[in-house]
Amino acid sequence: MDSSVVLKEVELAPPAAPKVGRAKINWRTHFQQHWPLYVMLIPAIVSMILFRFYPMWGILFAFKKYSPVAGFAKSPWVGLKNFSRFFSSDYALPILRNTISIAVGKIVVGQIVAILFALFLNEVRSHFFKRTVQTMTTLAHFLSWIIIGGMMVQILSTKGAVNQIVTSFGLEPIRFLSDPAVFPWTLIGLETWKEFGWGAVIYLAALTNINPELYEAAAVDGADRFQRMRHITLPGIKTLIILMSCLSLGGILSAGFEQVLVLYNPVVYKTGDILDTYIYRVGLVGSGGMPDYSLGTAVGLLQGGVGFVLILVSYWLADKFANYRVF
C-alpha cells in the first residue's frame, strides 16, 4: 500500500485523547482485567518477528562485500566501504539533489493543485456532476505506473497528443522525456495528473464540515464568491493543509520509483536519476554482469534511516503545528 496515501487520510480521525495521569498501577489486577489487550497484540508481534525482524539481518549485507555464490557467512566484512563508495562516486550528490527536488516538487505542486481543485469543485452545486468529476479524477490513482508509463511515453513523444496541441499554437514541440531541464517537470506534472484527484478527496471531505452559516453571513456582508473562497473556505482547511505538508516530509527521499523507472533514459539521468532507481540499477539489475547487492543494501539502508528520522520529525511537526497526534 502506498504509505503517503494512507497518511493523507489520517488527519480526519480526531485529535488524540488527553494523556492519562500516571497513577500507580497494580499490575496483577491490571493483567487480570486487561489481558485481552495483550492477547490482541500477539498476532501483530508474531507477524513482525517472522516477516519483519527475521529477515532484517540482511541489513548486515551493507557492511559486507556480498557474493550470492559465497553466501552470507563466507562473504568478507568491509566495514563502511560500501557507504564511502557511494559518497565518493560522482553520482551521490546529483542523485540526492534530484531525489529531493523531484519529491519536493511533487509535494508542492501536487498539494497546490489538489487544494485548488477541491476549492473549485466545492463550488459546484450539482451533486451528480461533482461525484462524476471526482470519480473520473481519482481513476488514475488506482493504476500502476507500469501500466500508465508506456501510454505516457507515446502521448508525450514529439509527435504525441500533447505536442500536437503545443505545435498547433506555433510553438516548438517540448521534449518532455529527452530534455534534462524539462524531465523533472514532466515527472512532477504526471504525478500531479495521476494523484490530484485522490489528494483532493481529503480536502473535499473536510470542506463539507465548514459551517454553511459562515457563507451566508459573508454573503450578507457583500463578499463575492472569490472572497468567500479566500476568507472562509481556505481558512477552514488551513490546519489540514499544514498537517498534510508536515506529514509529506516523511516521503522526501522517495521520489517515485516506478514512475521514474518507466519514463527515464540515459539522456535525462543528469536530472532524473533518483535514489530508488540507482538502488535498483546497482543492487538488483547490475550493470553488465552481477548486481552489487551490498552497495544497493547500503544505499537502501541510508534511505530507510533518513526516512525513519524524517517521519518521526514529520509526526512531531504535525503535533506542534497542527496539534495533531499521529501516534
Binding site: 559465497a70 553466501g71 514529439t158 522525456l177 529527452s178 540515459p266 543528469k270 540499477r281 554482469g289 552481477m290
Partner: protein
Amino acid sequence: MHSSRLTRRQMLRAGVVASGATLVAACTPNVVKETVEVKQTVVVKEEVEVTSVVEKQVTTVVEKEVVVTATPGPGECEMDWTPTFPEPFKKYDPPVEVNIVLGERYDSLPENGPYNKYNNPMYNRILEHTDVRYMSKWEPAGDPAADSQKLNTAIASGDPPDMWQASGTFLQELIDFGALAEFKEIWEATASPLVKEKKGYPDHYAWKQVLQDGKLYGIPMQSGPADNDDIGFIRQDWLDKVGMKMPETIDDITEVARAWKKAGICEYGIAASKQLVTWMVDLAPVLGAYGHMPGAWVEDGAGGLTYDSLSDGVKQALAQIRSWYAEGLMDPDFITYDPYPGGYQSVSSEKCGIWFSPFWNYNIDLNVNEKIPEFLQVIMPYPKGPEGKQGRWATMSWGAPVIFRAGLDPVVIEALINNLNWQTEFHANWEKYQQYGAFDHDTAFLEGWDWAFDENCEVVIGPYPGTWHCVEFGWNNNPGYPSQQYDIYAPAFKWMNEPDKTKLNKAQRYLVSSKANQRSVEGFNYSYETQAVQIVNQFWGTPGPKMTERLPDLKTLEDTVFLNIIVGNDPIERFDEFVQEWKANGGDDITAEVSAWYRSINS
C-alpha cells in the same frame, strides 16, 4: 549499450516461419544470466576460412504460401520422406531427472490440448531418445531482470537448479567458491568425437572460461561469426521512388534520407534505438564506418588494449549522427525506444527506411506485405566512412556456458553430455535424418502442427507452426557450436539451387519455397561473407576488481554523454571532457588492468 543481445535462435524459437524474427523472448525457459557483458566478447584467434554458403546469386522461387484449414483425410496423401533419429548414445533406466528452470509456452499451447510442459513432442523426444527427464524447478517470468533476481536468490539461499547458464564475474565466483560440479573426466570419456570437434574442444577460446587449472566447470554454448552481427537494410521501393542508387557511403545515406524526407516518403529516414550498439535497429555499422566501436577494447599498438569509446573516430561518428538528428533524419524520440518494439516499429510503420539488424531480420517486409505490399527490404552494403572504412560490432560468439551445481550426481552429468552428443549428431546431420524442423526452429516437424497436406498432397504450413516445442535449455534443440548455422543452411541452399524441384521431396520443396527461408539463407550468407569488417572486442577475460567497481558508473557516463551529444543537449566538445573524465574516474586503472591481462594471455 551491448546488453540484452538475443541470439537468432532465441528469436526463432518463439516464432513461426515468416513472422518468427519479429519475436523477442525465447521459449520461456533458460534466460538465466543471459545478459551479455560489454567486456566479454570475441576474439577470433584462428584464421577463419570464409567459405560462402551461397556461391552465386540466389535465384528465388517464390510460391505463394497456401493457407489450408482442412487437410485431406488420412491415407489420401503420403509422406515421401522418412524421418529417423540418431541412435541413443546410452540408455538410462529409469531416466535421469534434472531440475532446471523450465516453463511452459502457456500462451501458445493449443487450447485445451493434451500438451503441457511435461508432455509435448519436444519433451517426449528428449525423454525417449536420451532418457533425460527435465523437471521444472520453477517457471521463468520471461523478464531477464526478474528471472536473474530469482536465480540469484535461489543460489544465495543454497538452492540452485541442477543446471543453468552463467558468465563473467558470476561464473568465476561460482567456480571460485566451489559451487559448480567439476566434470573433466566424465566429459573426456563421454563427449562424442563429433561434439569435441564441433565445439573446438579444448583449443577454441570459448573453453578458456570454463577450463581452469586442468579442471572443467562448464560447456560453452557457441555461435558463429555471422549469426548475430548487424547488416544494413534499405527500402528498395523507396530508393526507386526517388530514383537513387544504393548508398555506399555515410554521405550517400545522408543524401538518400534527405531525398526521402523531401519527397515526403517518410518522416525520418534512419532508424535507431536508445542503444547505439545492440542487437537490433542500432547504429553500430555507422560507428564502424569511422573505424571504431564504442564498448570494444582494441589493441593500442604497444601490446596492450585501449577502450575504443574514447577514440576520435567515435567522436566523428557522433558528430555525424548528431547532424542527422538535428536535420530531422532520425526520430526525435528514438532515445525513448527500446530496440524492440520501438526501433523495430519505426521501420514497420514506415517512419524509416534505413536500418541495421542481424540477418534474421531480413523479413520485416514479409511481415507487413499484406498491409503494405510495396515494402521491399534489401541488403545495403556496409557504409564507408570518410576514410573508406567499414565496420560492424562483432557479436560475442560464445554465450554463457552451461554449468552444473556442485554435488549433482555424475550419472546425471554423463546423461546430459550424452544428450548433447545426440543433439549435435541430430543437428549436424539433419539432412540425413530428414528432420526438417531443424531449419526453422530446431524442432520437430510434425504433421498437423508445423505442416499439413493441401488438396494436391503438397506440404504447406500447418495450423500451429512453431508452437508447443517447449523444452529449451542450453543445448536442447540447440547444441551451440560455431558452425551450427552453417551446417543447417548449406543443405537448404543446395535444394534452393536445384533446378529440378521434382527431385526434392515434399518437405524439402516446402522449405525452399518459403520466401522467408530464402531470405534467411541469403542474409546469412551476406553476413558470413563480410565478416572481415568485424571490429572485435579483444577483451574476453573475467572482469578484474577495478573494472567491476568502476565500469558501471563509467558506462552510465558514456551512455549519458553520447546520447546527449547526439540529441544536441551537449556540444560535441563534451566528448573531449568525457574522455578526460573517463580516464580520471578509474578508466586509466581499468585500462591498465585490461592491458595487463592482454599481455598475460599473449605471452
